[in-house]
């Protein structure tokens, strides 16, 4: 294996899960996310000689995001509208719970699914800052690099995104409490 490949595997590939998670939340479809990540990794590899820095994560995620836009542009031209997927595959995750009360487990699974839908329903510019900050734990500076926007914009979008999520989520919870879903 040559040196470039070795360095790429050591620096970029550890962020494959992060790349997929971002692609999956942006595209809202696992098949599209697979394609986006494949394309992004290839582009990253081809451009790897130009990468300077010690953290490849924001660099790679920026490429993932660009690939998403390219793919989304092509999809729009085909008049395809991506729909949020059903999330039955996540139900098993809900089993990992300290309380083995089955009713509680079902309720948690429902809530996760609902939460998933709420996040998927947020406008893309809000969704991406939330994922990058809350799931990927990126700093404002790194988020600015990934999204190509100034730090001030990152901060205001993040504030707006959190407020939106809170509002929608608590409205949902309120509905649950009153028995209306």
């Amino acid at each position: 294996m040559d040196d470039k490949r070795r360095r790429f595997e050591a620096q970029a590939l550890p962020h494959l899960d992060a790349a997929y998670n971002l692609a999956r939340w942006l595209a809202r479809s696992s098949a599209d996310a697979d394609d986006i990540v494949q394309e992004a990794i290839l582009r990253a590899y081809r451009g790897f000689d130009g990468f300077r820095g010690d953290d490849a994560k924001p660099w790679l995620l920026a490429i993932v995001r660009n690939c998403f836009f390219t793919a989304a542009g092509q999809a729009r031209q085909r008049m395809g509208v991506p729909l949020p997927e059903e999330h039955a595959e996540n139900d098993a995750d809900a089993l990992i719970d300290e309380a083995p009360d089955p009713e509680l487990i079902v309720m948690r699974a429902d809530q996760r699914q609902k939460l998933d839908h709420i996040i998927a329903g947020l406008p893309q510019e809000f969704r991406e800052v939330l994922i990058l900050r809350e799931m990927e734990d990126l700093s404002y500076r790194d988020i600015a690099q990934v999204t190509g926007s100034p730090i001030g914009t990152v901060m205001s979008r993040l504030a707006r995104a959190r407020a939106l999520l809170k509002e929608t989520w608590f409205r949902h919870m309120e509905g649950v409490r009153h028995g209306v879903q």
């Binding site: 294996m1 040559d2 490949r5 790429f8 590939l13 550890p14 494959l16 899960d17 790349a19 997929y20 998670n21 999956r24 939340w25 696992s30 996310a33 697979d34 990540v37 494949q38 990794i41 290839l42 590899y45 081809r46 999330h87 595959e89 996540n90 098993a92 995750d93 089993l95 990992i96 719970d97 300290e98 083995p100 948690r108 809530q111 996760r112 939460l115 998933d116 996040i119 939330l130 900050r133 809350e134 799931m135 700093s139 404002y140 901060m155 205001s156 993040l158 504030a159 959190r162 999520l165 809170k166 989520w169």
Partner: protein, 250 residues
């Protein structure tokens, strides 16, 4: 109306402020009710988001990516046209052989014989149960000299046992679980926030899958001597494989 410090409160919450700015905001939070409420709500939104699914790359995607990189490397070699024609044959043949091996490996993953589906169900089920109930550990110890003899009296087999603190795979104990009718010995490791269960039972000629991923859990099967091993976890596959390598070397 909206306090001017809202964005700085958020930056404080996200750990983006230096010490002196953080002290200012802490003082502000004591007098501004609106910002104190904001801080609490940032915390609750973060808590809600931690319940949202984190999507990991599948084993298939990982393989596809590696294959694409192999192809890319072969491609750039072919482009470097200084090699005489004959000399290009062997690297090409080698990458062809690599691709064939790769396809064989993929087929191996994809063609899990139906008999082993039950096996996968058993280990995945046992793993999930171990996380749910207080039934993770029967004998709690990081000492291999405690765990191994304990198995001798409780399980059908007593597998080689070791703790790997330097590699961040800490042995926390052992347990007995049923896998396809065997009383399997289970070693429990912690790796960061992840729990890894390593099942061992006596080989009885069953066909083994290689790596199976389901609902974000990876299970890796292998055989050593007359023992069958299976490591299950939600840790990343390469991390799980690192433990598998360590266990194979005991």
């Amino acid at each position: 109306m909206a306090c001017n410090e809202r964005l700085r409160v958020q930056a404080y919450f996200d750990g983006e402020l230096d010490a002196s700015a953080a002290t200012e905001i802490e003082r502000h939070l004591q007098v501004c009710r609106e910002c104190a409420e904001l801080l609490a709500s940032l915390d609750s939104v973060g808590g809600a988001l931690r319940q949202a699914p984190y999507h990991r790359a599948s084993v298939k995607l990982r393989s596809d990516v590696m294959k694409a990189l192999d192809h890319e490397a072969g491609h750039s070699r072919a482009l470097s046209g200084w090699l005489p024609r004959g000399a290009q044959f062997w690297p090409g043949a080698a990458s062809g052989a690599a691709a064939t091996m790769f396809a064989a490996a993929l087929a191996f993953f994809a063609l899990v014989p139906p008999a082993s589906t039950q096996l996968v169900n058993d280990v995945m089920g046992a793993h999930l149960r171990s996380l749910m109930a207080e039934h993770l550990i029967d004998v709690a110890s990081s000492d291999q000299h405690t765990v191994k003899p304990w198995f001798a009296g409780h399980a059908d087999v007593s597998p080689p046992t070791a703790d790997f603190p330097n590699e961040d795979f800490r042995l926390v104990g052992g347990r007995v679980d049923y896998v396809e009718g065997h009383r399997a010995a289970v070693l429990v490791y912690r790796h960061g926030a992840h729990t890894i269960n390593v099942f061992t039972w006596a080989q009885s000629g069953e066909a083994l899958p290689g790596v199976v991923t389901r609902n974000g859990y990876h299970s890796v099967f292998w055989q050593s001597g007359d023992l069958v091993f299976c490591a299950v976890s939600d840790a990343a596959l390469d991390e799980l494989m690192a433990l598998v390598r360590l266990l194979k070397e005991i």
